[in-house]
Symmetry: C2
Subunit: 421 residues, 2 copies
Amino acid sequence: MQHTRAAAVRDVARHDRAVTVPLADLARDADVRALREVLDPAIQQELLDGLREGRARELVEALDPDDRARLLDEMPAMVAQRLPAGLSPAERAATAALLGYPEGSGGRMMSPEVAHLRASLAAAEALERVRALGRQAETVYALPVTDDERRLLGVVELRDLVLAEPDARIVDLMGPEVHRAAAADDQEYAARLIQEADLVALPVIDGEERLVGIITVDDAMAVLEREASEDIARGAGTEPLDRPYLSSSILFLARSRAIWLLALILAATLTVNVLDAFEGTLAEVVTLALFIPLLIGTGGNAGAQSATTVVRAMAVGEVRFSDLGRVVLREVRVGMMLGAIIAAVGFGSAALFAGTDIATALCLSLFLVVTWATLAGSPLPLPARRAGLDPAVVSAPLITTLVDATGLVIYFLVARAVLGI
Amino acid sequence: MQHTRAAAVRDVARHDRAVTVPLADLARDADVRALREVLDPAIQQELLDGLREGRARELVEALDPDDRARLLDEMPAMVAQRLPAGLSPAERAATAALLGYPEGSGGRMMSPEVAHLRASLAAAEALERVRALGRQAETVYALPVTDDERRLLGVVELRDLVLAEPDARIVDLMGPEVHRAAAADDQEYAARLIQEADLVALPVIDGEERLVGIITVDDAMAVLEREASEDIARGAGTEPLDRPYLSSSILFLARSRAIWLLALILAATLTVNVLDAFEGTLAEVVTLALFIPLLIGTGGNAGAQSATTVVRAMAVGEVRFSDLGRVVLREVRVGMMLGAIIAAVGFGSAALFAGTDIATALCLSLFLVVTWATLAGSPLPLPARRAGLDPAVVSAPLITTLVDATGLVIYFLVARAVLGI
C-alpha cells in the first residue's frame, strides 16, 4: 500500500506547505478520533483541496512514518465526509491511491460522494435530505444509515423511503441484512456481493466500520465483465486487451500473445526431450508416431476441461482452497470415466491404422493420459490463487503443455511394455 | 414461436371454456386495437386468471390460426396491462411462453409487473402513483412513460421524480434518450444495453411499440454472467454447468465433457491420416518426430489465441460479421509477427537436438504454422454466429485440432523440400 500511495504521490507537481503543518500537528495527536474535532472546517477544506489538486507529497512527506500512518488511517472517513462533489475520475483515483487503497480494491472503485442518513431521522426529513443532496451523490437508490460517529448501521432503499409513512423512523426502514465491503476488500468480492444480493449499491467502510464510500451496481457489472474477459483471455494463453479489438494496434495484439506463446513453446521443449529419450523406441516402431498428436491432443483437451471448470467455479465463488481435496477426488473419478470412453474409441481408430498391439498400447495410454490430465488440471488453480496469482494463469494452455510431456512418457512406457521392446 | 407456445400449452391440465368464447369473438374483430375497448374488465380479468392458472389450451385452440395469431399479437399489452401481481416464476414463464416469446428472448426474462406513468401527470401525482403501486412493481427506480395507447414515450428515473418540483410535467423529466428492447430481442442484447447505458432497468415493448414489461439490472447481470460462463466453458471444449460445481454429480460432470472430447478425438484422427501418409518420410528421418508435439502445440496455442480474442470481441459487441475482412487482415499480420518470433526461438532449440537442416525445416514450419493458425482461428466464429451457432463452439479446441492436421502437412512438405527427401 505504501508503494501505491507513493506512486500516486509521484504525480504531484505543484508545491504548497499551507496544509502540511497543521496536519503534522494533528497527526501527532495520539487520539485519532480527536482528529475530526481538532481539525477546524477551514483547514479541513484546505486539506481536501490539497488532495484534489494533488498537493499531496508534502502532506505525506512532512510527517514521521508513524504519524503518517495514523493520519492516513483517519483520512478516509474525513475525506469521504467533506470531499467536494464533482471529482474527476483522475482526481478520485489519485485521492484513493493517496488514502492507501491497494490496486483493485473496493476503495479504488467506490465513489466517496455518498448520500447517507442519520438513524435518528424520520422518513419525511430523510426525503428532504435526499432532495437537498440533489445530484451530488453517486446514487440515492441505496442510502446508507450511520450513527453520529459515521459508523454504518444499515441501508435504506429509496423505494422504501418513498413508500414509508412521513413520520416513520429510518432505523425501522433499514433492510434486515447489512451488506457492506471494506475499502481494502477486493473489487471482485464487492461486485459479487452486489450481484448475489441483488443490490443497487453497496456501502464501503474503513477499518473502524465508518462509511467512506459507495459502490454502484453499474461499477460492479464493469468489474465482473473485466474479470470474465481476463479469465477468457488467459484461459487461451493470451493477455486481455484493455481496449477494443478493432482499435488495438497490430503490435499491441501481438504483444498480448507473444509472451504466452514463448512461455508455452519453451515448456514444449520438454516434449522434445522426452521424444529424444525414446527415439530408439520410435525408430524401431515408427507407427507409434502416428498417434502422438491424437494422444497428446486428447490429453490436453481433458486437462483444459478440468482446469477451466475449476477456474470458473473459483471465479463465481463456488470453490475455495479448502475444497482442494474434494475437487481432486471428483476429478479423478470424472477422469477415469472419460478415460474409459475415449480409450474405447481410440482402440477402434488405432486398430484401423496399426495392429491390435499398438491399438492396445494406445488404448491403455489414452485411459491413463486422460485420467492423469483431468486430475492434473484441477488442483493447480487453487494454490495459484493462494500464491496471489490469477488462477486462470495456470489454466488450459499451461496444463496442456505440461500434460503433453508427461503423456508422451506414459505412452512410450506403455508401448514398450505391450510391444515387449 | 408457435412451437414454444405449444410447449407451454401442453402443460395445461384443467379445463374451462368460460374464457374462450368471448375471446374467439374478440379475436375475430378485424381491428386488434379495438380489442381492449371491446373487452370488458370482468372478462379481461377472467382471461388473465385463465393465463395465470394455465387454462390456456382452450383459449388458444378455440381460435382459427389467423384469429389466434391476431389475438396473441394483442395479448402481451393486454396482459401486461392487467396482469395481477405476484406471479410465481413458473407462472411467469408459462405466460411468457404462451405469449410466444422465444427461448432466450427479452420477453422471457422481463417482468410484466411494470410501474408506468402517463405523460400527462405532474411529478407530485406521479409520486402518488408510485406510492399506490407500492410493492407490486418489479422496480420503481426506472418508470416508463406511456401515452394513452400504452405506447412507450420515455423513462423517468425515480431520482429525478423525487428531486423535481411537485408541479413539474413528467414529459419534462424524461431522460433525453429512450432505451428500450423488443420482447423478441435477444436477452444478451437487452443485458448489454442495460450495462452500456448504465440503466437500473430497461422497458420492453411489443411489435406495436407498446410497453409490455421491464428488465432490471440484476437480471441483466445474471444473463451476462451466464453468457460468460458459457463462452469460458466452450472455449475449453466443455459444456457450461447449470448448477454449482461441487453439487454436480460426477456423471453430470463427465457428460458435460464427454461429447466434446469425443468430437475432438474424432477430428484428431485426421492427424493420424496425415502422419500415415508421411510415414515414409518419418521412417527415413525419425528425428522429425521429435518436434511434432512442439510444432502442433504451438500452432494450436496460436489458433486458440486468435479464436478466443475474436469470440470475446464478438461477445462484448466490438466485432460484427461485417468486420470479417478487417479481422482476417489484422490477424494475418499479427500471425506473421508472432510466427517470426517463434521461428527464431524454435530454430535455436531445434539446433540443439537435431542438425541445422532439421532446425531450418522446423523454423520455416513454425513461421508458416503460427501464421496459418492465427489466421485460421479468427474468421470462423463470425460465420458461426451467422449460422445461429454459439461462436464459442468453433473456438479454441476445434481450431486447435484442425490446425494440428494442417500443421503436420506443412511440416512434412517443408521438411521434404529442405532435406531433399
